[in-house]
């Protein structure tokens, strides 16, 4: 990486963002390779952000065809049947993304996600998975974790006016400046896998943990138990989802009020993404991926939630491994080394 400089063209194009994260980070971005599965509105926003930021390449995978839902929140797809017929979501998004930044290589990979071998993921620095069942997410996450190189793994889902991002950076070392302008110190964070993070016993989590965490797990369980595609719901499913919630709460020995019915109803009825939330979640995910590639900035560990109803963008640190203390002290416990540098 050393000795290689940004070209004049790159410096001119990326001027404003180099002023935010520096030329070094920009060089790392331009050498990074990103894999993205599931081209819905939120992921389209995310792809736009990283293509503009100037990553090296983006590989898209999604063999589904255009539906009204896809058209509703994905601005990468032109609503013209002559253009979109016969093409997959990934192909259509690829065509649009290419135009955003000629310096980024955008391509489509056609395959069955679950059949991809471990070595396939070795080519990438970042893997982002969306709109697929939790079992698939666990499978891909495990493949990434087994590689000798560290691949940053993310999942993202947006339902109604709520969104969830999961982050697994495995063992992640970076320089942090914290909030003050003091000397930078080296931090190491230990992340949980998707499986560990989504199977934490509810009773051990704080009462103030984002309700969305629990609600998303209920929704996932429902989809899995009923063999549904992600988001394939209707208002008729509400009673069954609420019934499942009661069972889960009982099994976890927590009160039913742990997961508000109103929230679940919103997620079931409004399974379509709400564009402003796509922009927000896609923006945060873009930022997180840029942080992980550049090694600059404090990354999210390990969930991010946004809900229009309270307007908060909240971070939760959830794992099934260590008992959860309060968030501040658990954070410091995760810092294994803290070397103060000049």
């Amino acid at each position: 990486m050393e000795g290689e400089q940004l070209t004049e063209q790159e410096t001119a194009l990326y001027d404003r963002q180099i002023r935010v994260w520096g030329a070094d980070a920009q060089r790392r971005l331009s050498k990074s390779h990103i894999f993205v599965y599931g081209m819905k509105g939120t992921v389209a926003e995310f792809c736009k952000n990283i293509v503009l930021a100037g990553v090296g390449s983006v590989t898209l995978m999604d063999d589904r065809v255009v539906t009204n839902e896809a058209l509703a929140s994905n601005f990468l797809i032109p609503p013209d049947e002559k253009v979109y017929s016969g093409k997959t979501l990934a192909e259509l998004c690829c065509d649009s993304l290419k135009e955003f930044n000629p310096m980024v290589h955008v391509s489509v990979e056609k395959a069955e996600l679950v059949t991809l071998g471990q070595q396939f993921f070795e080519k990438f620095d970042v893997v982002v998975i969306s709109s697929c069942p939790p079992a698939t997410k666990i499978l891909i996450n495990e493949k990434c974790r087994k590689l000798s190189k560290r691949v940053a793994f993310y999942t993202v889902e947006c339902r109604d006016s709520c969104g969830e991002i999961f982050v697994d950076l495995q063992n992640y070392k970076y320089m942090t400046k914290g909030k003050t302008d003091g000397p930078a110190s080296e931090c190491e964070l230990r992340y949980s896998s998707f499986q560990e993070a989504t199977s934490a016993p509810w009773g051990r989590l704080q009462r103030r943990t984002s309700k969305l965490y629990f609600a998303m797990r209920v929704i996932e369980s429902f989809e899995e138990a009923n063999g549904r595609n992600p988001g394939a719901f209707s208002v008729e499913d509400v009673p069954a989802v609420l019934q499942l919630k009661r069972q889960l709460c009982e099994a976890q020995s927590v009160s039913e009020s742990f997961v508000p019915d109103t929230l679940l109803e919103r997620l079931v009825i409004g399974s379509i993404e709400f564009p402003p939330v796509c922009a927000i979640i896609g923006g945060i995910l873009g930022q997180e991926v840029i942080k992980a590639i550049s090694g600059k900035g404090d990354p999210v560990k390990n969930f991010f939630y946004f809900d229009v109803v309270d307007g908060k963008g909240v971070i939760e640190d959830i794992s099934s491994r260590a008992p959860e203390a309060d968030s501040a002290s658990s954070k410091s416990a995760n810092i294994i080394t803290q070397v103060v540098l000049e």
Binding site: N49, P79, P276, I280, A328, S332
Partner: protein, 657 residues
Amino acid sequence: MASLQQSPAIKGAKVLMVGAGGIGCELLKTLALSGFEDIHIIDMDTIEVSNLNRQFLFRQKHVGQSKAKVARDAVLRFRPHISITSHHANVKDSSFNVDFFKQFNVVLNGLDNLDARRHVNRLCLAAEVPLVESGTTGFLGQVSVHVKGRTDCYECNPKPSPKTYPVCTITSTPSKFVHCIVWAKELLFAKLFGDKNQDNDLNVRSNDSTGSSEQTEDVFERKADESVEHYGRRIYDHVFGYNIEQALSNEETWKNRNKPRPIYSSDVISAELMQQNGSSDKAGSADDPLSVSAMASLGLKNPQDLWSLMDNSRVFFEALKLFFGKREKEIGSLGFDKDDQLAVEFVTAAANIRAASFGIPLHSLFEAKGIAGNIVHAVATTNAIVAGLIVIEAIKVLQKDFDSYRMSYCLEHVTQKMLIMPVQPFEPNKSCCVCSETPLTLEINTNHSKLRDFVEKIVKAKLSMTSPLIMHGSSLLYEVGDDLDEAMIANYSANLEKVLSSLPSPVTSGTMLTVEDLLQEFTCNINIKHREEFDEENEPDGMVLLGWTQVPTKPKDDDDKPHTGNGVSTSKASETDPAVAQADAGVVKINVEAIDASGKKRKGPDSKDISLDPPSNVADEATAANHKKVQQIDEDEEDLVVLDQWDIDTNKKQKLR
């Protein structure tokens, strides 16, 4: 809420977007996706290459075209059936009057300067249209809702103004690189290439003890038969050598400071090297003056490299030579422009040579350009997030969901577990001179200050009025407009040159002036209070406006690292710089003391105080005394952060719900 896309409140709404830049592109896309069908956009700018990294509706082939128009066309490609009307114009144009604003249900701002934000705020107040205001810089962002009578207006709380520096810090005792930039840009560059009749402090201070200013004036004139090389050396030796020697002779100044070192061209660059300095054929074509480059002709490639004193000196001479060789016609009328490569090169080199003289670390052209051009740091992600938040608030406004209006911050560091933090909107500030009728007080020497000074320094610079009218009782002192007859114009121009106390209707201590902007439909009363003396360094305007909600711009010596950016200007030039300061990004920096990142210094779990810096993206420790207080009310299910009013006088706590 997804069904909202079909909601009549959204479908039937007519919205005005002001600004089609970083936030604007994201906003237009998100509005269109969210189901809005009637959108107007105003933007006077054209597309530049440095926009393309985040203004994703624009492509290389659009460079030079209207942002409003290209943004419209791009969005219509994925939402062909909605109505988007673009206005390639300045929002301050008189056609965008109160009646124009009245046709909209909500106005959404994605602007980059304070002046335009104030203008839109006043029009929204006058037209009684809700305003959603926004700003970003780097990873920080902010969105707020302003509804007349329900929340504060944009001007209820103080906004930081461009940073100014004492003249003597710039002319004699620079201690930071930014001081050298201000010197190079506002003084040296202006002296050599700008309007010769403009006041300029370049030689005033350093020559206090010697000679008359008339004699030194000649130094900067190129003599009739003088070669550019000779002229360049003479300027160089004068400003970096002779002037420093002169300054050193004043022992008093250097008692507690490091003495600067005079630098002469012969010490740095030999006569032979001077001769072979640069090959102008590589310097770029004279047809495109903005692309002429001393770096190119010297073979310097990377703008991020740190140049040696010798390199800086070579750039200095080469840039001067190219100005005279390729752009001679412009000399005498040039102003600094961050997109003028040669101007940036000259200012960088001159600032670095001065920095070397004063023992201040040198900076790369890339960094110097950012400081000199007040470049706002911008990334696509923050703009996208902020645009999403704007649309959410706009929908609440259209649904008249008053109780859920929120002001939202995008944070760089996690605060109370949040990266996006909503707070309750402020109440109107009862002493706000824009949305209430509280008069201001102006301390001024009524026997010395002319009406012109009042118009320039107060009415235009502070009150941001575009077409003002000044009245004393029923007598008109001044007015701007297209419909004035010649006698009136003559009368007003005569008034401008009169001191206040000798106006036809004399303005003296105790006078109440009424200043009105007809376009903004904004009226403001000003009590005049005569004051004999003003401090030249701290009150350079020679007048002080009291009751105006603006952060006092105490001249101060503290500085920001280049990456945090600066509003750079001398006190004289501050209001004329079109790029104004970073402050214009309109972002508040939140500093949280209650929770330490490592958890070490964390106060008890009940600690709810957060301090908030004044509304500026530039961390400004000097105004720490004016911190907002944030109180978080922790209730069972929901917590909401409530901010106190910034203004100390109205330091009242708001109750939640």
